[in-house]
Symmetry: none
């Protein structure tokens, strides 16, 4: 019989890669890079460990490609774009984002967050991955600074150095996300409101 045609193969390849990357993001997020066993990713993806190496040439590359895929595809980016165009106040945007960030695992987004957390506390991260993490961090900072400024102009946000404020905000968010995402699920809006009091005028 004739072999599969190219489209079919391409499809399978992509399916599999995505399947693996999805699993990888989950497992990396839970365990960090070093403690993540390829065998676990494979199990999570429902395949043999050998197959992982059919699609990626090393554990490191699984990580890298998974991160890139997740960012590209990225729900977060899309979300940020949508968010910036919503007709709501800056503070509401911030609230909305916080909620998004803390409602883990709905999308891969929070996995990325957690993975980057891990990486930032890890030695010997390969430079191309390190760079990746920096870029992601930068993206958030750059996204929020104008919003914070706007919020300050609108009188919603306290008059402190906006960069410092954004830094503080994101530091705490990311610390908290890496920590216990479950904690937030209950009563989320209320908790977030309290949390955001730290930057609001009243």
């Amino acid at each position: 019989m004739a072999p599969l045609n190219e489209d079919q193969l391409e499809n399978i390849r992509n399916e599999r890669k995505i399947q693996i990357m999805r699993a990888a993001l989950k497992v990396f997020a839970a365990n960090g890079f070093k403690l993540t066993k390829i065998s676990l990713i494979a199990k999570e993806a429902g395949i043999s460990h050998g197959l992982v190496y059919h699609y990626f040439k090393s554990k490191e590359e699984v990580l890298h490609e998974s991160l890139e895929w997740a960012m590209e595809l990225n729900e977060t980016k899309k979300y940020l774009n949508e968010l910036s165009e919503m007709a709501i106040s800056p503070l509401e945007k911030i609230h909305n984002f916080t909620k998004f960030a803390l409602s883990s695992s709905k999308y891969e987004s929070s996995d990325i967050f957690r993975i980057i957390q891990h990486l930032e506390h890890t030695e010997d991260v390969p430079s191309h991955i390190l760079e990746f993490t920096k870029n992601v961090g930068m993206m958030y900072v750059e996204f929020f600074i104008p919003i914070f400024i706007e919020g300050q102009e609108a009188g919603e946000i306290i008059q402190e150095n906006p960069e410092e404020l954004v830094g503080l905000f994101l530091t705490i968010i990311s610390g908290v996300m890496a920590d216990d995402p479950d904690y937030w699920h209950e009563n989320m809006d209320h908790k977030i409101s309290i949390f955001l009091r730290m930057i609001t005028t009243r």
Copy 2:
């Protein structure tokens, strides 16, 4: 030379254990349980890795005993006691504590925090250690609830469910501690002030 008497031997033994545990706390805090190599603890303690096994029967026991020792000895407990008797307002106490928590490694205290963070995100933690972590968490909660209530009575702290407030406060603190302790060093008081706005009245 006369042989050492039993007390002296006991002392040496204890010195050594403490030496090891101190090192262990530091290294566990930095790397988590699994990624911590016995050899690193030994190096940090300035002894050979074999010796660790004279004092502890496994890596797990090193962790467990180190945690217990740290809590017993505990700077944190002492510190909390002192804190509760200081003649300062509840809010100032909270500020003071936050500062203490974030000024890492001055005491073993923050190591404990970070270790517990790690453990809480780890699977297969042996039950006796898990229990330990719960107790520590509880201790903080119980310590802070009265202070928060006092603060509410004094009008310094917002009128929300004190347990919820304490929970939120500690969750964030611990998330942030596990994240990037260095971030806070600069301009610490100012950052903490902003952070605490989330619970203060205006």
Copy 3:
């Protein structure tokens, strides 16, 4: 289009096998058995690695059949036949052969040589392959003994036990072939002449 008839199919099948075997000989010669990857043979043959297993049931069989094919087909045998009928002196025949042996890869012949070299230094070679190598060796010995005797009778070759002489000659040739075929390309005739002084009368 009409389907291919059986002969044609058979032909295609044979073409493919030959294509693979030719590639296999080359790659085996370059790397030895164990270090030769099926994927490399496939790439060299311009086919997928899976296809190799349609024609051969294992790597070992690829080796075996390739060797047999090469011997059957055999350029070497043909060459030896031609050689024996050339109207040149025994010594010239030997010179000619040496040249043939050292001018690698023109024919598959030198590949066989090199492969057999490899095999002789390898443990756990399956007996049917081992036997094969012995036969090949034997063939050469039997071919050259009469020529050496003739050379002795003609006074061109020194009066030593011809079997010993042939053994020495072939041992060195094969050692040298396995070693560095490139070395000989430059100035080949001259080098060979010197080399052959070892058996010539003057």
Copy 4:
């Protein structure tokens, strides 16, 4: 009880390293670098595979250090020195050397030869090892050129470019050593005499 004193430890370490390197030379010589399993070296040395990594940080380093040790210690070097001072004719020196080279495994020397043979036919040899092999080859060339010239002046050796002659001689020797050292054991002197006819005058 007190731990071993430094000398004792140093001794054990050295013993073991030598034990491993000796085994390594043997196994590398037999199989080449890639096909040599650390576990085989360990077995040959009568130790566990893990221990190898106590003394060397990688397979590559086992090879490198083993080669360096063998050259340093080196029987060959010593032998060459002695040889150059013997009161025998240049040709006799060459004969003597050939004999030495082919009486394998008496010393590690022939292992080195064989290993270097392997390496020269291998891709991706790390540069520091490659350099090593070059140096060794150079050593022989430089040692023999004056002897060949002397032999030519004494009328024992044919008047050909000495470098070419030495090159040919060493190429064949090394090819042959790598090939079948056993072949030569029987009747060695006689075989060597014939072989050397290739460079001798009549």
